[in-house]
């Protein structure tokens, strides 16, 4: 490993997870970590990889390709190398590897990681489908089954590793992962696995009753289930009720507004975190819920400040009439 005469630091938050290789090089250049000869070596190495990939792409039938295709191949190569570089402990270590290794080896190691991620994504999909939460919503199962199968069918990591191909209709609570290719699919499925695991703790009928109260035609639109179910469950816990009932009344909601009145975001987060401990979550759902609490706390604070606390919880009754929104 090359010795550095000075310490260089690259801020992780400056790195674009969708184009990691490119942003890593840019950041390194900005702080002087890469010399002109390093840059030239990168380009020379990339050209060699591009040549090899282009030859494979055309199957030996052509000695030239359209620039657009070369650009796609380069994006794919950069994506694959980025996958490998992300696996190093620090960005500085990744830069050191770029300086000391042939990019070809990083590319091949990256391809291996991409294949592992594909296998992991398939495993995640099978796991979810083996215990999928039942809902009449047309997008939920279709996304996990048909949508993801569509990705596996169309995905060509050798030449377009950065492509996603599918629209990923089901909107997960933690928002669409800011990633490309199989990294996106793997993260997206992890989120769905966590949400699905959480949702299967509840009676599908109770969830259906709740979702109809949120939006009558919810079965026909792409909607996230985790958020309303999570809020309803934690609302029940805060009031000392059974979280699995998912049936807050209008009176319950008024009591919850009082609980959250004049609370800071951090205090709201503490309340939610405490409530979670009373719901038996799987480890995967626990981690997901912990991330969700932060986002939900901010939203609750906003609703309390701007909307008088309306819209946080949904009141339902056993007849599934909407009592309050």
């Amino acid at each position: 490993m090359r010795e550095l005469s000075e310490r260089f630091f690259i801020k992780e938050e400056d790195l674009d997870q969708r184009r990691y290789f490119g942003s890593l090089i840019e950041s390194a250049m900005r702080i002087g970590m890469l010399s002109d000869s390093d840059i030239k070596k990168i380009y020379v190495d990339l050209w060699q990889i591009l040549k090899a990939q282009a030859e494979k792409r055309v199957g030996g039938k052509s000695s030239s390709i359209p620039k657009e295709r070369a650009e796609e191949l380069l994006e794919s190569i950069a994506f694959v190398i980025g996958v490998r570089l992300k696996s190093f402990l620090t960005p500085e270590e990744a830069i050191s590897k770029i300086q000391d290794s042939a990019l070809r080896s990083l590319f091949e190691e990256g391809m291996e990681l991409v294949r592992m991620k594909m296998a992991n994504a398939k495993r995640l999909q099978n796991k979810i489908l083996g215990n999928i939460f039942y809902t009449p919503n047309i997008f939920y199962r279709a996304t996990i089954s048909d949508g993801i199968n569509g990705f596996f069918k169309l995905y060509k990591p050798q030449f377009s590793a950065q492509d996603i191909h599918i629209t990923a209709d089901y909107p997960v609570f933690l928002e669409r992962p800011n990633l490309e290719g199989v990294e996106f699919i793997e993260r997206y499925l992890r989120y769905i696995e966590a949400e699905n695991s959480f949702l299967t703790l509840f009676d599908p009928g109770h969830i259906h009753r709740l979702m109809c109260a949120v939006k009558k035609d919810y079965a026909q639109i792409p909607m996230n289930f985790f958020e309303p179910v999570f809020m309803e469950a934690t609302g029940n816990v805060i009031l000392g009720k059974n979280p699995k009932e998912l049936s807050l009344s209008a009176e319950d909601i008024q009591k919850l507004k009082i609980v959250f009145t004049d609370k800071t975001t951090q205090e709201i987060a503490l309340i939610l975190n405490d409530a979670i401990t009373h719901i038996k979550l799987s480890p995967r759902s626990e981690n997901y819920a912990a991330l969700a609490v932060f986002k939900m706390s901010e939203w609750i604070k906003q609703c309390m400040d701007l909307k008088d606390g309306n819209g946080i919880f949904t009141a339902v009754d056993t007849d599934r009439r909407i009592l309050d929104a």
């Binding site: 490119g22 050209w47 040549k51």
Partner: protein, 185 residues
């Protein structure tokens, strides 16, 4: 211009552009000439190699009274790069300059006085129709077709050759293959 100078000339553009969504921002790069792009990527004098390959073809072409001087080879190599740039293509292999020379040098319609011009026009047609046939006709097939048409039905006419190639492209774009086009000729 030396390797280092060209790299330096473009280093501001290249280094500050960084590695965009691909490796380089292609909007900037397509302004570069193909030889300089290959130079930047390949780290070697790509033009020089092409010139050497072109000159090596003189061994064969001189039997037919055709040859290119080093200056003419340099011009032809430069022409190829301009044609590639115009066609929006990148050469990653050995190029087709030598293959075109070796395929056409025995043509009865190419004489020493029009040799350079014909080579340039043939290269232009080749890369244009590589695009028009959407990579579905290999380099070897396209050169072979061009030669057979040029010496045959086209009787050395570039205009007629272009028409034949247009028919081929139309056939390919209709979802059919090069093999069926050949059978139908």
């Amino acid at each position: 211009m030396s390797d280092a100078n060209i790299f330096e000339q473009y280093s501001v553009n290249v280094l500050t552009m960084g590695l965009g969504s691909g490796i380089i921002q292609w909007q900037e790069v397509k302004q570069m000439k193909n030889a300089e792009l290959a130079l930047l990527f390949g780290g070697e004098i790509a033009n020089k190699r092409m010139e050497e390959k072109i000159l090596s073809c003189n061994e064969v072409s001189k039997k037919y009274g055709l040859s290119l001087s080093p200056a003419q080879a340099a011009i032809f190599a430069k022409n190829i790069n301009e044609i590639l740039n115009k066609a929006g293509r990148i050469e990653f292999g050995e190029g087709i300059a030598d293959r075109i020379i070796l395929a056409f040098c025995d043509s009865p319609y190419i004489l020493s006085e029009n040799y350079e011009d014909f080579l340039r026009e043939l290269a232009d047609l080749f890369y244009h129709f590589k695009n028009e046939t959407h990579e579905l006709v290999s380099d070897a097939e396209l050169i072979s077709f061009m030669k057979s048409e040029f010496d045959g039905e086209c009787a050395g006419s570039m205009d007629l050759l272009s028409q034949s190639l247009t028919e081929l492209a139309r056939h390919i774009n209709a979802g059919k293959s090069y093999e069926t086009f050949k059978k139908g000729r």
